[in-house]
């Protein structure tokens, strides 16, 4: 974001900064980030390269028909979800972190739970409850007659609400970890200087939390961009819906990926805005980890208002959908149609766990290495490459999956051309390696953003001192950076595990014969509208996803107690 005019090479701010940090050019680390970026971009490029050779007919036709509406819907939805997740995520993080009221200690971690609830499940349950045949409207009709007015439930605002409820934990988690890591000194200083709590919050804490806020929002928006299932429940025509329509309805994958390229442009814009929002501001912890902000005890009506707000959000985002799933699963149990005793159940569960654990570990390791390398070199190329590693998150899973398929097919052909008989054969025909590859492409952003947000709070002076004392970059990583950014690493592990558990299109397309997961099973049943039977695997996903959330919380609480 620097707008510095060309200056004599010796005195650029960047060089000065590097010199101050004691981080010279370290080609090895730059190379590492570059390699990761190439690795991630290949499958994305394989499919979206079509954007470079656009089909004029397609674009002219789309532009004269649905494209303006799709762009409008996409922007409106992004705006709605931004407002929704900001209010819910940042507001709740602030509320529970620096206030104490009945239940505040429990809400601190309960509020993460909606992370375990897939947006499409929430959307489906929302419709089951509020749509015309649902209990609410049926009740209203019984009381006030057939023509009773009810707001349109299949609408953009409803979709924005559901997505906000499902996605706010990203903002909540990152903002909360920012508030926890923030040294209380700044806030206290502002207060000592006479600022009211609100003023100190808005003028001091908010800017301090800005990088985390921006990182959380970037994740939310990328997730919103790729969502297909939830928005189609609500008849919202985003560009991603267009991708599916062109591909499946017009049998034109090439044209569809051109549209996917448009989604990618949106994502690049999101990343750019995120950088802009962070600006050149750098806020770092002084010394060790902060002790967090002192809490304020709420009194009177405020206490109950605070408790009520948390309960309402939790009920809407987690309680109700979980209850509905339980109801369905229970109904199935009573009619004896339950699949609880299905012998394949354990296998699906194991597969899901393997996939989740491996994806989380790989993404966390790579994300940490990329963030660390960026710190080690600090050059433009490294920074750009680091951002390039996150583009996959904005590509619909199914497009990434096809990119991986094509990349493998090309690799295969290349190997055969080089005289390796059969090439990589096994890779092409569906394998866990392919799934892992696609997951890393897709979810690296989650891990990089979480870890990077933590990194911004590590003072460069810390890195510099370690380096000047003769520690190798690898040692700095292990002994200095890792301990300081471990909140970010743990957040990364949790986010990737959960997303990998919920993820569907990649596993669906890349898995080998006989490799089914819980999400695949849920999909098979739900796609036939067998929600009663789908409820059990869906609940299991939620339950399994809760484990890392609870682990995260356990850690969180230890820190809160310090």
């Amino acid at each position: 974001m620097s707008t510095t005019a060309p200056a004599p090479p010796r005195a650029t701010p960047e060089r000065l900064a590097r010199a101050r940090r004691g981080t010279g050019r370290r080609f090895g680390w730059t190379l590492l980030v570059g390699a990761v970026a190439v690795f991630v971009v290949i499958p994305v490029a394989e499919v979206t390269a079509g954007v470079l050779t656009p089909t004029p007919d397609l674009w002219a036709r789309l532009w004269s028909t649905v494209l303006p509406g799709m762009l409008g819907d996409t922007l409106a939805l992004m705006f709605g979800v931004t407002v929704g997740t900001l209010v819910l995520g940042a507001g709740l993080a602030w509320l529970v972190t620096v206030h104490s009221f009945p239940g505040s200690r429990i809400f601190r971690w309960l509020l993460v739970l909606p992370l375990a609830m897939p947006a499409y499940v929430l959307g489906f349950v929302f419709l089951a409850i509020f749509d015309a045949p649902g209990p609410i409207q049926t009740g209203l009709r019984a009381m006030f007659g057939q023509d009773v007015w009810f707001p349109d439930v299949r609408s953009l605002p409803a979709a924005a609400l559901v997505l906000s409820l499902a996605l706010y934990p990203y903002v909540y988690l990152l903002v909360r970890s920012a508030l926890l890591e923030q040294a209380p000194a700044t806030f206290d200083a502002a207060r000592t200087l006479g600022a009211s709590r609100t003023r100190a919050a808005v003028r001091v804490v908010l800017p301090l939390a800005r990088p985390s806020l921006a990182a959380g929002l970037a994740l939310v928006l990328m997730e919103t961009l790729t969502d297909f299932a939830t928005v189609s429940y609500f008849n919202v025509q985003t560009v991603s819906v267009g991708v599916y329509q062109v591909w499946k309805g017009q049998f034109d994958r090439a044209a569809a990926t051109e549209l996917a390229g448009l989604v990618l442009l949106f994502a690049v814009a999101v990343i750019a805005v995120e950088r802009l929002l962070r600006g050149r501001a750098r806020y770092h912890q002084k010394g060790g980890r902060g002790r967090g902000l002192a809490t304020v005890r709420l009194t009177g009506a405020h206490r109950w208002l605070a408790t009520g707000t948390c309960v309402a959000v939790l009920a809407a985002a987690f309680g109700l959908p979980a209850a509905q799933l339980l109801w369905w699963a229970g109904g199935d149990l009573l009619t004896g149609a339950t699949n609880l005793l299905d012998p394949r159940y354990a296998g699906y569960l194991t597969n899901s766990l393997i996939v989740g654990a491996v994806a989380a570990a790989s993404c966390a390791v790579i994300g940490l290495l990329v963030a660390h390398s960026t710190r080690m070199t600090g050059g433009k190329i490294t920074t750009i490459a680091a951002h390039a590693t996150t583009v996959g998150y904005a590509i619909p899973g199914v497009v990434v999956a096809i990119g991986v398929l094509i990349a493998f097919a090309h690799l295969d052909t290349a190997l055969e051309a080089l005289g390796v008989p059969g090439g990589t054969g096994l890779l092409v025909t569906g394998s866990v390696i392919g799934i892992m590859y696609a997951y890393i492409v897709r979810f690296l952003a989650l891990s990089y953003h979480s870890i990077d947000a933590s990194f911004t709070k590590v003072s460069p002076a810390m890195t510099a001192s370690a380096l000047s004392l003769g520690a190798s970059p690898a040692r700095v990583l292990g002994r200095v950076h890792l301990p300081l950014v471990r909140t970010g690493v743990v957040t990364a592990l949790v986010l990737v595990t959960i997303d990998a558990l919920k993820e569907l299109p990649i596993v669906l397309l890349l898995r080998p014969f006989g490799f089914d997961t819980l999400s695949v099973w849920t999909y098979q049943l739900a796609s036939e509208n067998r929600w009663e039977s789908a409820a059990l695997p869906a609940l299991t996903i939620v339950a399994v996803a809760l484990v890392p959330v609870v682990l995260l919380i356990g850690k969180d609480r230890l820190e809160g107690a310090r």
Binding site: K248, F251, V358, L508, N529
Partner: protein
């Protein structure tokens, strides 16, 4: 650094373990399928009768076609099975399917429900017809010759529920309208639906529930969703009306299959498809209340009650090609 190394080693081992699971024993026939309903039951029965083992991989029709195409000669698959004729047509066009010479299949599957070039065969039939709430609609209100087209008339204003344009069911219905009436007339029909303030719902079950709840009077859905809802609640206030009986017949689509051109077990694969079209028909279609393609096989009782009907022959070539036009047309008139 130690935790990092450990994590990497763990990741690697998981990966290897994963691969170990995968490349264990293989079944004789591997099926890529966009169809999920009770496949397992039918395949188990086939294995019991023939000793040939079958394994299948679920997915979406279009994605699986993409996978088969990317795998090329290395594909482990032997059969491509879909829930839509358009995707079979496209697979045939792309050279992914082998030509079958099977008199058994040609005898069992009517000409109207299979590929003229014998690359794929319909195995079950799903009718997409008009559903109405008998408390609010008298069946005499429907046009018997052009039932779907008639729903564009102003008298249906505010009374309709239909499926979204992203769904292949809607696309193939509109494609059939284009095939029958030409593009211009078809466009007027769809425009009429839109101008009638049709409520677009992305789920057939919910369309039927809306009809039952009285929030719309008439909808268009696949017949088996009604059969399934009736099995749960026989008092449901929804009745099917067989569309176009005075004209070209009710719009149907098929769930069908073909043998992959790159299959290494074409003979047994063909045998499975033959079995599904003959002895295996009931095991294949009944669980989902679909109509058997084989005229010698009786449909299951629930849908038998819906009565007999004439169906419009599948013209998959036209569907596949017109599907794209259908999407375009719906886009142009603002059908969501």
């Amino acid at each position: 650094m130690r935790p990092l190394v450990l994590a990497m080693v763990a990741a690697l081992m998981f990966g290897l373990a994963g691969c170990g699971i995968l490349f264990g024993e293989e079944a004789d026939i591997q099926v890529y399928t966009g169809r999920h309903y009770d496949l397992e039951q039918a395949f188990t029965k086939f294995t019991d009768e023939t000793g040939i083992t079958v394994e299948f991989l679920n997915g979406e029709d279009a994605e699986l076609r993409e996978r088969i195409s990317a795998e090329g000669e290395d594909t482990p698959g032997d059969i491509y099975m879909t829930v839509d004729a358009g995707n079979l047509w496209k697979a045939g066009e792309e050279g992914l399917l082998a030509k079958l010479n099977s008199t058994q299949l040609n005898d069992a599957v009517p000409e109207a429900l299979r590929d003229p070039e014998q690359r794929w065969y319909g195995l079950s039939m799903r009718a997409r017809t008009v559903m109405y709430n008998p408390k609010k609609v008298d069946p005499s209100e429907f046009d018997t010759t052009n039932t779907y087209a008639d729903l564009a008339k102003p008298k249906w204003q505010g009374r309709l529920c239909m499926r979204d344009s992203t769904e292949s069911y809607t696309q193939s219905l509109v494609a059939s309208l284009i095939a029958a009436h030409g593009e211009k007339r078809a466009k007027d029909i769809v425009k009429g639906w839109v101008e009638n303030d049709t409520e677009i719902i992305d789920n057939d079950i919910q369309i039927l529930e809306n009809i039952d709840a009285g929030t719309c009077d008439v909808g268009i859905t696949n017949h088996y969703y009604l059969a399934r809802l009736l099995a749960e609640n026989p008092d449901l206030s929804v009745t099917p009306f067989w569309a176009n009986q005075g004209g070209r017949g009710t719009h149907v689509n098929i769930s069908g299959a073909g043998v992959l051109a790159n299959s290494d077990n074409k003979k047994q694969a063909q045998r499975l498809i033959e079995w599904l079209a003959t002895k295996g028909q009931n095991a294949f279609v009944d669980g989902n209340h679909e109509y058997p393609v084989n005229p010698d096989v009786e449909p299951e009782p629930t849908i038998k009650k819906f009565g007999e009907f004439d169906y419009e022959p599948i013209n998959a070539r036209a569907y596949g090609a017109l599907n794209s036009k259908a999407v375009q047309l719906m886009n142009e008139v603002g059908y969501e």
